[in-house]
């Protein structure tokens, strides 16, 4: 009797569940409301604030924010040779780190996805992930010790040291997307290429690379943007060299020029947008 009563007259919870079941849109918006609010406020809001701030200025005498529109920050940025040099240097570092990571990551990811036994595969994934569990600072300082003139590597500090350290730090972010991409690539395609007469290099060039390119792009977005925004590694192993991140940091702190820092911070954002647009034009992302 109790079951039939429950079926004929549902309680408030039952009615709510039934209502949500019938109204898929309400259900979806309830699910998404919290993440969307977080995304809207914390992410887009902050980004908008950054752009707005970039068009303000500070009173040179009092150091107070002047909330009126001006192009001055961007004019300084474009005309100042120092900033152009730093922007180009940052870009160069990001490109170098991305290329080095790609060269190291691709064979590693390929071995993991296509050659290793399932058991070895699991261990290799853990091995790649392990460095991510350690603190960024610990790893950067470890490189500082290795790079110091009496360290294991003994290269000294500077741009090369920065590139090496950043390449190490972001390597997992390149390996994992490529690994995932190659895992999805059917092994029979590699067999088919060999069967049709293609040797290793040709199979790579005509089959593996075009089909894993979207995964490479995904990985490069990580290494590229993380490198462009970094300022700690440069501080620790970069010697006297400065990157965009340092200019932003110094203008927020020592120089107390928040609007200019904001203007500088838009540079990596613009570079990333240009990069994504360029990648999109190749059409490689349509298969995602």
């Amino acid at each position: 009797m109790t079951t039939s009563a429950a079926l004929s007259r549902p309680g408030p919870r039952g009615r709510l569940a039934a209502f949500l079941h019938r109204h898929a849109r309400v259900r979806l918006s309830l699910l998404l409301s919290a993440p969307l609010a977080w995304l809207g406020l914390a992410y887009l809001g902050a980004l908008a604030a950054l752009f707005v701030t970039a068009f303000w200025s500070t009173d040179t005498f009092t150091g107070d924010l002047v909330r009126s529109f001006t192009w001055a920050n961007f004019q300084d940025l474009v005309t100042g040779d120092v900033y152009r040099t730093i922007a180009l240097r940052s870009l160069g570092v990001a490109v170098a780190v991305t290329l080095i990571d790609l060269i190291v990551a691709f064979p590693m990811a390929f071995a993991m996805a296509k050659l290793a036994s399932p058991r070895a595969q699991r261990w290799l994934v853990i091995l790649v992930l392990t460095p991510l569990w350690a603190s960024y600072l610990v790893k950067a300082y470890a490189w500082r010790v290795m790079l110091s003139s009496d360290g294991v590597l003994g290269w000294g500090y500077g741009l090369t040291a920065t590139i090496a350290t950043l390449s190490y730090l972001w390597l997992p972010y390149m390996i994992l997307p490529i690994y995932a991409g190659l895992e999805r690539l059917p092994s029979s395609l590699l067999d088919a290429a060999g069967d049709l007469g293609a040797r290793g290099w040709r199979t790579f060039r005509t089959v593996v690379w075009p089909l894993s390119f979207p995964a490479v792009v995904a990985g490069s977005i990580f290494t590229f943007s993380l490198s462009l925004g970094d300022y700690i590694t440069v501080k620790i192993v970069g010697g006297k060299s400065q990157l965009i991140g340092n200019v932003v940091y110094d203008n927020i702190g020592a120089a107390n020029n928040l609007p200019f820092a904001a203007a500088v911070a838009t540079v990596p954002v613009v570079i990333m947008l240009v990069y994504l647009a360029a990648v999109r034009r190749t059409g490689a992302l349509e298969n995602l």
Partner: protein, 363 residues
């Protein structure tokens, strides 16, 4: 053939060495402690349509992959056209493969897929184009050159895979469950078409299948695989009518075994014997009727335990009085479903000609 004559598992066909498309000797493959292929000897003649038939895990696909060069054998040799290729890479062997999942390159057009092998071999562009278009035409896909594989149906993809392999004019074409992913109707069409294409191009086709009907209808000869070894090699008729082992009898068609006491009582002999269902005649077991069994026939009485009406034919499952069970297949020539369904539980006599019973080796 005389009844009761023990059948040899393999009737060796002597073919001059130069006319061997494929020759396997003592081929073995183990993955760790698992033995996938346990010593296979096989000769496939030039121009043959040859099937490797067996259940999944019987080693047939592994043998195919070793012929293609995707797996290297643990032991034994692979010869193609008289040349030992055991240690050669896939790109050094004169074979091409049609993969089970077709393995078409998704980022290339149909034409680029078909041209791939020729491009790798540096065939000049005009010749390449002509041959690729010809190959597409031979599989009735002209006009589809610019499509991507994703824009094709399963049957069309299958034909592109075929064209991509055939355009290279290999010595042997390997087909791994080529029709497995197609629906029944399309599969039957492709069986006929594959056979026609093979006759036309004259290339040796070596194909793997777990579908006994496919193997019987398409091939010149069949090798039946079980547990990493070959149970029997022969023409479809030999395999079907004279299965060498109980496994072959059961895997190719319905086994219908008469064994032990039943064999002694019905046939007057010891051993295991097989009769195919369509060779059995079902007659009423009427004690008053004249004996329907002539001197060159055998018969057994039993009770119909199941009647399966299947359109053109009806399958009777008969439990024999002497033990065991036989399945009889009767064409529905003059009877309707109404008639046959009423036969369940009735006493019947199964009659067959002696020449249709075959002794089976124990395996």
């Amino acid at each position: 053939m005389f009844p009761f004559m023990p059948q040899q598992a393999v009737t060796p066909v002597t073919i001059p060495a130069s006319e061997h498309a494929v020759r396997l000797r003592g081929l073995r493959k183990s993955f760790g402690s698992v033995v996938a292929v346990a010593g296979v000897d096989l000769d496939v003649a030039d121009g043959e349509f040859f099937a490797m038939l067996g259940p999944s895990g019987s080693g047939k696909t592994t043998v195919l992959r070793m012929i293609a060069g995707f797996e290297s054998p643990t032991g034994g040799t692979v010869e193609l056209g008289g040349r030992d290729v055991t240690r050669l890479a896939p790109f050094e062997r004169d074979v091409n493969t049609v993969f089970q999942d077709y393995a078409l390159f998704p980022h290339m057009s149909v034409l680029e897929n078909v041209e791939y092998g020729l491009r790798v071999k540096r065939v000049p562009k005009t010749e390449r184009r002509t041959r690729a278009l010809e190959a597409l035409k031979s599989v009735r896909l002209d006009g589809f050159e610019k499509r991507r594989p994703a824009q094709l149906s399963g049957g069309q993809r299958q034909r592109v895979a075929l064209a991509r392999a055939l355009v290279n004019r290999p010595r042997v074409l390997l087909l791994d469950e080529p029709l497995g992913a197609l629906d029944l109707k399309l599969r039957e069409e492709m069986q006929v078409e594959l056979k026609a294409i093979q006759r036309e191009v004259g290339i040796t086709f070596l194909f793997v299948t777990h579908d006994q009907e496919e193997a019987l209808t398409m091939s010149d000869r069949v090798a039946v695989f079980n547990e990493g070894g070959i149970e029997q090699v022969g023409t479809p008729a030999e395999i079907y009518e004279r299965p060498a082992t109980a496994f072959v009898a059961g895997f190719v068609g319905t086994s219908n075994l008469i064994t032990g006491a039943a064999a002694r009582s019905v046939l007057g002999r010891d051993g295991t014997f097989s009769v195919r269902p369509e060779k059995l005649r079902v007659v009423p077991a009427d004690p008053g009727a004249p004996d329907p069994v002539s001197s060159d026939e055998h018969s057994a009485e039993g009770t119909v335990s199941e009647v399966v009406y299947a359109g053109p034919a009806t399958r009777f499952v008969v439990d024999l009085d002497v033990g065991g069970r036989l399945i009889a297949l009767q064409q529905n020539l003059e009877v309707s479903s109404m008639d046959v369904m009423g036969l369940r539980g009735r006493r019947v006599r199964l009659v067959w000609q002696r020449r249709h019973e075959f002794a089976i080796g124990s395996s």
